[in-house]
């Protein structure tokens, strides 16, 4: 007779850089069931957004996630522009694409490095992060800060780039491309890496579609879905690029999608720099916007990101709704832990590039009875104001 034991993973765990809890039911070393508890870093951003004006909210949405910050600001400003019917200048659209893709490259190299570290391969982690610093330098050069910079603003972008910066950027991109090709070869051929990643956490194409996986997680399962290609925003309708897909459906495929996307992003930036149109970089937008509703979809480094803004003709949004990629992916990936050993958990978890600071939602659970409560908006408001 065998017993299943509850094994708690987190909230503070060296394999997770953010607090999140997984409860694995294990039989010996094999996982038989998994339960995800999110919400440790729920910061109430959607509620906070209602108390700040549209410009302040750019800085707030940027801090939903520090890694894919450009995707968040881009998605938010596009939703506001959609709501107010603002036309963005062509040059701003191309500049948005350039910074968005730089952000994607830095995010992908980052998670490839973190994946290597979690598998105990610290050398590759160090090499990848060393090469990533070149990208951080050009992000700083273009936007003014290494990580968060609020480059996108309502009606355009905040900074222009000149020819010197362009040349510098092209030079660095050549180097990054060479480095990425080297890392691709390493990750494709290294026997230990393959041993740890191939056939781990297999998410079949059908399951990926059924469980609404997005981004590299879906594309690693051979799902042809990329918002940039299928619902083009900014200047993506004018830029040719390939949607990367892998047929293997495992952790390894999901990581390789990221490597290939990095190379694809480099090509997108080169094309955008070459075809950068002239003209204004932003249009003036009044602080008070007309009543309405706006929606925007963006392909963040981790997958599809949705921002939905309501306004009642005020300087503040009436409601901001954010739907982040990890929230979709974590549910898609959770069942694939079953049947693997505890040692494989980091290898599977890291393959979706989890970002919990985006994910954490509000649920009320009565701890003593385990009962899940549903509270109306009025009750939450009363609780909020009574503090």
């Amino acid at each position: 007779m065998s017993y299943a034991v509850d094994l708690l993973f987190g909230p503070q765990h060296p394999a997770l850089h953010e607090p999140e809890r997984f409860r694995f039911k294990v039989d010996g070393e094999i996982i038989v069931d998994v339960d995800v508890k999110i919400g440790f870093i729920h910061r109430g951003i959607e509620k906070l957004a209602e108390s700040k004006n549209f410009i302040q909210n750019i800085y707030l949405t940027e801090r939903i996630c520090g890694i894919c910050n450009v995707a968040h600001t881009l998605c938010y400003v596009q939703a506001v522009e959609d709501m107010a019917g603002i036309e963005v200048p062509e040059r701003a659209k191309y500049l948005r694409v350039i910074v968005h893709e730089l952000n994607r490259i830095h995010s992908h190299l980052l998670i490839l490095g973190v994946a290597a570290e979690l598998l105990g391969w610290e050398t590759e982690f160090m090499y990848l992060w060393r090469d990533r610093e070149a990208i951080m330098d050009i992000i700083e050069d273009v936007t003014g800060n290494r990580v968060t910079s609020a480059f996108n603003t309502i009606g355009g972008v905040r900074r222009d780039i000149n020819n010197t910066q362009k040349e510098r950027m092209l030079k660095v991109l050549d180097k990054v491309e060479k480095d990425t090709r080297f890392h691709k070869k390493v990750l494709e051929e290294d026997p230990l890496y393959r041993e740890r990643m191939v056939n781990m956490g297999v998410l079949k194409t059908r399951d990926a579609i059924e469980r609404c996986a997005v981004g590299p997680t879906a594309r690693g399962s051979n799902v042809d879905y990329d918002v940039r290609a299928h619902d083009p925003y900014a200047a993506y309708d004018e830029i040719p690029f390939n949607v990367i897909r892998y047929k293997e459906c495992d952790s390894w495929a999901r990581m390789m999608v990221r490597v290939d996307e990095t190379l694809e992003s480099i090509n997108i930036i080169r094309y955008a720099l070459k075809h950068l149109p002239g003209g204004e970089i932003r249009v003036k937008v009044p602080p008070r916007l007309p009543a309405g509703e706006g929606l925007s979809r963006v392909e963040a480094p981790r997958g599809e990101l949705i921002h939905h803004v309501f306004c009642k003709g005020d300087v503040k949004p009436y409601r901001l709704k954010v739907r982040t990629p990890t929230f979709a992916n974590i549910l898609a990936i959770a069942p694939t832990f079953i049947g693997h050993t505890i040692a494989d958990v980091p290898a599977i978890l890291v393959s979706i590039d989890p970002c919990f600071s985006c994910t954490d939602r509000l649920t009320f659970v009565d701890v003593s009875s385990g009962k899940v409560m549903k509270l109306s908006l009025g009750e939450i408001k009363r609780m909020y104001w009574s503090r």
């Binding site: 910061r43 906070l48 520090g66 910050n69």
Partner: protein, 145 residues
Amino acid sequence: MSIYRLALWSRMKSPWIYHINTGSCNACDIEILAALTPRFDVERFGIKLVGSPRHADVLLVTGPVTEQMAERVKRIYEQVPQPKFVIAVGTCACSGGVFRGGYTIKGGVDTVIPVDVYVPGCPPRPEAIIKGVVLLLQKLKGEAK
């Protein structure tokens, strides 16, 4: 030389660091990791990121403290052996930052545990984080004399 001074002397040569995220947006966290990697390479000073609070001398705390994490931060702080030091990395950890006033936000880290060094910035550059650690070491040295 007393045992305490011996321990302090050895600790200054190699402070081990444990990183807690109490609700951060990940920006400070990636800058902490960047500080460990070859461009900045704090490991040459013997500074090492460890996987357990029980091995740590210094806690690096990032992010505003959320309701759910407050108890856990306290518990982790209690698990660190004495003497222990806390560095608050980033504006959110210093004061709550942009999230101040949120319904789940308690405020900066100093509302929950005592903080020795504050490193402001959103996110602070890796150099600033290293400076924070160096400031802490200077503070320790002052105590050692």
